[in-house]
């Protein structure tokens, strides 16, 4: 039977069929382990784990295969292989623990030993985060396989340090916060950073490094343009034009002349001039007064008040928009898109 299963697992069927068959391989491997057929289990599981790793399958699937593989290797008498498998398992998922109802104490004990010796962390971050730069923070959760010392650093893409976030011990887990700024408090000037976590043994030896990329985008709302200042057409003239004064002057002169020349106009040539000169003089005085009151370029208080009201209204609108723009300028947000964590060679810090 297992020959047929093995043939299916190793066969070159189309991918979909192969995936279904591969799941069958995993199940067959686990069943072989439970049937104490450890050699067959190790063979099936090792191949399946290799396939899952190559296909970057979900961590849960890979850990399931690895823990059975490690247990099978242990019971095959290959303790070193079992340790290596468990180490891979811890590095893959530091939070993983074997089910004590499924695996005997030999397996769980070996796994615990490996876990305690393996210094690594898992980085848990939301895939997408938007934080206000003014008072927000990007949060990352570190889950450690065991007690260790970690240094967490933000790096430029070229590997130079951008800002150290943490250096110190970590027991079970640790929450990290980053305010979206550099060490000087300025908003991040680049659109991509690397979050790198280096784990060290108590001896100070670098044991593992994990890194993920953070794609960054700063967004700020557009400011509102100021309203245009009042146009000339909206404002009244604040100084009198010369038309009224000229009309008063010409009208008064014409009227005075009419009064003085009225007797001649009606054919009377022997009329005393006193009364009409008196009236003409009164008209002249009124004319002079009217000219002064309507003299050109005199201030027009009513128009000045009306224009002041228009300008004040515009200024109030400007003040309101200034406050609104200040609020919008302060409302700068940082969008963070986190990539997948990846282990890197321990050649860094």
């Amino acid at each position: 039977m297992w020959v047929g299963v093995l043939a299916c697992a190793l066969g070159s069927t189309p991918s979909r069929v192969r995936a279904q068959s591969s799941d069958s391989v995993l199940v067959a491997g686990m069943r072989a382990y439970k049937n104490l057929e450890f050699d067959l289990a190790a063979l099936l599981l090792r191949r399946r784990v290799a396939q899952l790793t190559a296909a970057k399958a979900p961590v849960a699937d890979r850990t399931q295969g690895l823990v059975y593989l490690g247990a099978a290797e242990l019971f095959r008498g290959r303790r070193d292989s079992a340790v290596a498998v468990f180490r891979r398992l811890v590095l893959l998922d530091p939070r993983f623990r074997p089910d004590r109802l499924v695996f005997p104490p030999e397996v769980t004990g070996l796994f615990e030993g490996v876990r305690l010796r393996t210094k690594t962390v898992a980085i848990v971050v939301p895939r997408d985060t938007v934080i206000p730069l003014q008072d927000g923070a990007f949060r990352a959760w570190l889950v450690a396989s065991s007690f260790q010392t970690v240094s967490v650093t933000l790096l430029y893409e070229n590997g130079t340090s951008f800002r150290p976030l943490y250096f110190g011990p970590i027991g079970d887990s640790l929450e990290l916060q980053w305010d979206g700024r550099d060490a000087a408090g300025q908003p991040v000037p680049v659109d991509r950073l690397l979050l790198r976590v280096a784990s060290r043994a108590p001896t100070g030896e670098l044991t593992s490094m994990l890194q993920l990329a953070l794609d960054l985008q700063i967004s700020s709302p557009d400011t509102v343009p100021w309203p245009a200042p009042p146009a000339d057409s909206e404002l009244r003239p604040e100084r009198a034009a010369g038309g009224s004064a000229t009309r008063a002057l010409l009208g008064g002169l014409l009227l005075s002349a009419a009064v003085v020349s009225l007797p001649v106009a009606v054919g009377s040539h022997d009329t005393p001039s006193g009364p009409r000169v008196a009236v003409a003089s009164a008209v002249g005085v009124a004319t002079a007064l009217g000219y002064l009151l309507h003299r050109p370029s005199r201030p027009l208080p009513a128009n000045i008040r009306a224009n002041d009201a228009v300008r004040d209204a515009w200024q109030r609108r400007v003040t309101t928009l200034q406050a609104e723009n200040a609020r919008r300028r302060a409302d700068v947000r940082l969008r963070v898109h986190a990539g997948d964590p990846a282990a890197i060679e321990a050649a860094g810090p």
Binding site: R247, G267, T287
Partner: protein, 212 residues
Amino acid sequence: MRAGWLLPLAVAVGASRLPGQTFHTAGAASVVTARVRTEQLGGAAQFSGAAFGAGGTLSLGRFQLGLSYLQGRLDPDTGSAHARDLIEGAVLVGFRPVEWLTLSVGPHARAYAASGQTQRWLFWELRVRAAKPFIGSTVQGYAELWRAVAADANVPEPFDHAQGGEAGMIVRLARAPFEGRLGYRIDHAVLGGGTRLETVDGVVIGVGLAWR
């Protein structure tokens, strides 16, 4: 001839009242420093004195009806003539073709009463009056000319012609219906081919009330 120019006016007056038009009334009291000078071949006589009058207009759209009355006592300036009373009255129907111009027509009667004798004059006048503000909207200047198209007087000389005019200013208060008026007026009549000249002139000072 009179019917010739009265006909268009009558047609105009007979036109139906336009919607939204309302009556406007105005009244005024005035004092006139009147001077009457009569020149004849035998010499000249001059009287002067103060007369008091009142008048009013009733307007509807472009048409108006004006009434005026004036009465005063004139004392002789020269000679030994007796003082006499001056009484004047006029009824004028007017039409405003444009805002600042008024054409009017109507009878204008004048009487001099002294020692039981009364000298009566009746003119049928055609008047042209132009009025327009010239100092803001407060002070309005006006000038009026009239000519008698017919006249009747109980004097020996036959009527020849008569004409007159008035010019002055009206001060209107912006927030009140009151107005003040200062003007100079003159009437000049020629009778008997120039053997008799009658001139009446004077300064008019008035206070009016107009509902606009």
